[in-house]
């Protein structure tokens, strides 16, 4: 009898455990209770300046502050997405009367929707939310609204419902048109969409983007609004617009005049000071109803929202070696340890990664300083102690694509020069461009040490390039499908005669953006693995969403002479460009137009089968390859099988090759692919779908501000040439 009971109990237990282990049912996870403090309006960073001057100055020069909101590239991308789908990426607010096809009222956006159950809710403010969540929340009050809800919203496909108007591309303005105010704080729009800042324009509250308040208002992760119920991605962050501000210290000093209250809640402090905080925004998951976006919102009722991973940086860190102790430093290395510390200006460490010995800057070293201005910041002028403090530069891979004059016109007269010189009181360079360069130089190392030592004319020999990323995430990360890291490699003889090259660029004309002849600049040239031109679209009197007239497909798409990425991945070939850039792919189904016109028939070229093609318009991607980037602390070897010319071939061209041969390899970083920027120039240009220039991107801007970082890492190897 006892055995029967035991057996029954075990069976029940086992079934229960199997259910727990294998079941797919998901319960809603409640967010932590919110503690009520006095409301405080979202503060401009200038209000924090008197007590936190240093932090204000640092954040002011970070691209996530200010610049991102006026960035020609961010604005261009957001515009391109809206132009192809009829404005769906613009926020909607609580007074919206838009009704979705299933009868649901669309009156919440990506931030204000409690649980994202409709793709359109995620689309509403998709780009804007991450860069300006507080402003989006404030927008529910029409008096505080900076970015208007667009009329139409793709309702002209094929015709608008009765009483509604179509999306009007000719009236479309970039987001940055809306972030200017006059001296009285009233919104000041450029007279024409995309026009220059009007006289007397000042930055609006929203122009500041990611501010002091955004981070220090945090109240933990929003588990219900994150697709995997984990507080990752798409601003899965609870924000308190109250006087409670969370900082890093468990023993903060009381604030003068109770301007704010310093949060002592250990869990809020721990959240702010860990990678989990960054995770709320640094994965970007794009809603997509198409066929290959298999991941979906796990929240109850959210299963219809499927998505693909555009930015996957946080996941990469979360599952990577720096989120633990199994790394060269033996302790957890947080986002803050590289992007908010003295890194890379605080000494170096030497360690072993695989069979590579690496010397690189040490993360997690912080300056000692006051966290607030002594004598100004504390109640009763209580004395402050010096502590370990963080930098608020948040340096990454970006520099503004604007002149200091343009930046000042939109963001205020004191906007720091990205190319400024000098160092701050902590010894960190003032200029963002210098900081970015130095950060990139710490990102990777390479070795040619396993290359064939000897070779002969007329034979092949193998260059073996070992590369390792030292970053906390993959390299590149972020918008890793466009951010470009690659290997430039050359084999020369003793006289410098070039026998092989990969990762090279050629100065050439760009007639599609008005560069009729080579201009002597190589930073604006694309790598030679692929030649592509993206359709910029064109204006039509009656708007129809989709790629028909709104651009995005490749009108030129052909393999180049250095076709390494596809050949290496899909064929296993050991030749051509080593490219660490990830890829957005559009899978066309049989019969779908792929964007090109058959010259003979004048008709669109249709996919004859299932056709895979790289796309440079994220809104058109229905799958993504996020594994081309370089995994952190995991060395990989890339072979180049190089064919040397025969003696006869050399004699024909009058060249004598003299040994030894010299192999040089280096890793370069390309800010963005020029062809991608030329697409942005076209789609937001005067002949694009709006019919007027949005004044964002053109060839001159590309030529002037597209600055790449070369020689992040390099190595050389000598190969003996035998008779």
């Amino acid at each position: 009898m006892h055995l029967r009971i035991l057996t029954t109990s075990l069976v029940v237990s086992l079934l229960g455990m199997l259910e727990a282990g294998c079941g797919t049912s998901v319960q809603s996870v409640p967010n932590p209770p919110q503690v009520a403090f006095l409301p405080q309006t979202f503060q401009p960073p200038e209000n924090c300046l008197p007590c936190h001057q240093r932090q204000y100055n640092e954040l002011h020069s970070a691209v996530k502050s200010g610049y991102r909101n006026v960035s020609p590239l961010f604005n261009g991308l957001e515009s391109a997405g809206n132009l192809v789908n009829g404005g769906l990426l613009r926020p909607v607010y609580s007074d919206s009367t838009v009704v979705l096809p299933d009868g649901t009222l669309l009156n919440t956006n990506m931030y204000t929707t409690p649980i994202l159950k409709e793709t359109r809710q995620v689309q509403a403010g998709f780009c804007f939310t991450c860069h300006n969540a507080n402003i989006e929340v404030l927008g529910n009050n029409p008096n505080n609204r900076e970015i208007p809800q667009l009329a139409g919203l793709a309702t002209c496909n094929p015709a608008p419902p009765a009483g509604q108007q179509c999306f009007q591309p000719q009236a479309f303005r970039p987001l940055r048109d809306y972030v200017m105010v006059d001296a009285n704080g009233n919104q000041l729009l450029p007279p024409v969409p995309g026009g220059d800042p009007p006289s007397g324009a000042q930055p609006s509250l929203g122009a500041a983007g990611i501010t002091c308040d955004f981070c220090h208002d945090e109240a933990g992760p929003d588990l219900n609004r994150s697709f995997q119920m984990d507080g990752f991605a798409n601003t899965s962050l609870l924000l308190n617009q109250t006087i409670l501000k969370t900082g890093p210290f468990s023993d903060p000093v009381a604030v003068k005049n109770n301007f704010h209250v310093a949060n002592r809640n250990p869990s809020d402090i721990a959240f702010l000071t860990n990678g989990s905080f960054c995770n709320t925004c640094h994965d970007v998951r794009v809603p997509n109803r198409n066929l290959t976006a298999e991941e979906h919102n796990m929240n109850p009722g959210g299963q219809n929202v499927s998505y693909f991973r555009l930015e996957n940086l946080s996941t990469e860190w979360q599952i990577g070696p720096y989120n633990g102790t199994n790394n060269p430093f033996g302790h957890l290395v947080r986002c803050q340890d590289c992007h908010m510390s003295l890194f890379p200006y605080a000494g170096t460490s030497t360690y072993q990664v695989g069979d590579m010995t690496v010397t690189s800057p040490t993360p997690g070293v912080f300056a000692t300083d006051y966290a607030a201005v002594p004598g100004v910041a504390t109640a009763d002028n209580a004395p402050l102690q010096q502590r370990q403090v963080v930098e608020h530069y948040f340096t990454g891979v970006d520099v503004p694509l604007m002149s200091p004059t343009e930046l000042s016109a939109r963001l205020g007269p004191n906007y720091p020069d990205p190319y400024g010189m000098g160092i701050d009181t902590h010894g960190v360079p003032n200029g963002l461009a210098t900081r970015r360069q130095d950060l990139m130089m710490a990102a990777a190392r390479i070795s040619l040490g396993k290359t064939d030592a000897t070779t002969q004319l007329g034979q092949t020999f193998t260059v073996r390039l070992e590369a390792v990323s030292l970053t906390g995430h993959r390299l590149p990360a972020g918008f890793s499908q466009e951010r470009t890291v690659y290997v430039q490699l050359a084999v020369t003889d003793a006289n410098g005669f070039l026998l092989y090259q990969s990762g090279y660029v050629v100065d050439k004309p760009h007639p599609n953006t008005g560069e009729p002849a080579p201009d002597g600049n190589l930073d604006d040239e694309d790598l030679e693995h692929l030649h592509a031109v993206v359709d910029p679209g064109s204006f039509t009197a009656t708007y129809t969403s989709g790629t028909g007239t709104n651009g995005g497909n490749n009108v030129v798409f052909e393999a180049g002479p250095d076709d390494g990425p596809d050949a290496r991945i899909f064929e296993g070939a050991q030749e051509g460009l080593v490219l660490f850039r990830n890829e957005l792919t559009h899978i066309f189904l049989p019969g779908q137009a792929i964007g090109r016109i058959d010259a003979a028939t004048g008709k669109p070229v249709l996919a004859q089968g299932v056709h895979f093609e790289e796309t440079f318009q994220a809104a058109l991607a229905n799958t993504v390859d996020n594994f081309r980037s370089l995994q952190p602390l995991h060395p990989r070897t890339y072979n180049y099988e190089i064919q040397l010319p025969t003696m006869q071939q050399l004699q024909a061209i009058g060249v004598t090759v003299q040994g030894p041969l010299h192999v040089h390899a280096q890793i370069n970083f390309e800010h963005f692919p020029p062809l991608f920027m030329r697409f942005i120039a076209g789609v937001t240009g005067a002949t694009g779908p709006t019919g007027h220039s949005l004044n964002l991107m053109d060839e001159q801007r590309i030529d002037t501000y597209l600055k790449n970082v070369k020689g992040i890492a390099s190595d050389d190897f000598t190969v003996n040439l035998t008779p």
Partner: protein, 274 residues
């Protein structure tokens, strides 16, 4: 009915063993679990992820399907320099994703439902990566098999760039390996046809030139096609292809830049032979 005394003991022991085996897997990847347990393992719907995922991130102990064998094969080939084991894995993968034994299908317009792909397809769509990888490895040792694999890729995606070039290059290998003039001639003719098919996928049109300033493209194809024409004594055609090669490299150079000077020299040499 009373169970014999030892029978419940066997049940208990059996359940205990099962319990241990179930939870022994909890630290690793269990086939069938997807993004919630391993964000690096994409669920195919309906197409496979065609690409390479870092093997260490997949947590696959033993491959269990065509895609997993492909991934391990790529790991063997690229990361371990182990071509024999890679080949075996590719062959196993292919046996599980085969047109011949109907374990995969070519998706056509007829497969679509209201212009969309069904949420599941049985059998699964054919993968192109395993065919390209295995074919590439077999080019020298078994060119006819390699060509068949490449042609299956063209059935999957007739407009995929580079596949016709692979077919052409394999025909050239076949011609070079053959001692039979008729076989050689046929192989070279097949190579020319395949190269021309590749060029047809990226036609040089007025729009193309207006956008790019290029008067030709596909320098690699023109170079290789010129070598075929020269090998078969078609000097005029060879010179024409070398001219196209020079045009295509005008703004793009070549990974072997000395070929540009060599092409110029060859054009003069071929002209002298007329």
């Amino acid at each position: 009915m009373k169970l014999p005394y030892r029978f419940p003991i066997l049940i208990v022991v059996g359940l205990a063993v099962l319990l241990v085996s179930v939870f022994a897997q909890s630290g690793g990847y269990t086939p069938g679990e997807f993004q919630s347990s391993n964000p690096n393992y994409p669920k195919p719907n309906p197409f496979y992820f065609e690409g390479k995922i870092d093997w260490n991130l997949l947590n696959i102990t033993t491959p269990s399907n065509a895609w997993e064998y492909l991934q391990r094969g790529m790991h063997y080939q690229d990361d371990m320099d182990d071509v024999p084991d890679a080949t075996t894995d590719y062959q196993t993968s292919l046996s599980m994703n085969s047109l011949q034994n109907q374990t995969c299908q070519i998706v056509t317009a007829a497969t679509l439902v209201n212009g969309n792909i069904p949420t599941s397809l049985t059998p699964a769509p054919c993968m192109f990566t395993v065919r390209l990888r295995l074919g590439y490895l077999q080019r020298e040792t078994n060119p006819s098999s390699a060509i068949e694999l490449f042609q299956e890729v063209l059935q999957i995606d007739p407009q995929r760039l580079g596949v016709n070039t692979l077919i052409a290059e394999t025909y050239v290998i076949e011609a070079q390996q053959s001692t039979d003039p008729t076989t050689q001639q046929q192989a070279y003719a097949n190579a020319v046809a395949a190269y021309q098919a590749e060029l047809a996928l990226s036609p040089v049109t007025a729009q193309f030139t207006a956008l790019t300033a290029d008067a030709a493209n596909n320098s690699k194809v023109h170079w290789e096609l010129a070598q075929v024409y020269e090998a078969t004594g078609q000097n005029s055609l060879a010179a024409s292809e070398l001219q196209a090669y020079l045009q295509a490299t005008q703004w793009h150079s070549d990974v072997y830049p000395w070929r540009i000077a060599l092409a110029q020299n060859q054009i003069h040499t071929l002209a002298a032979k007329k």
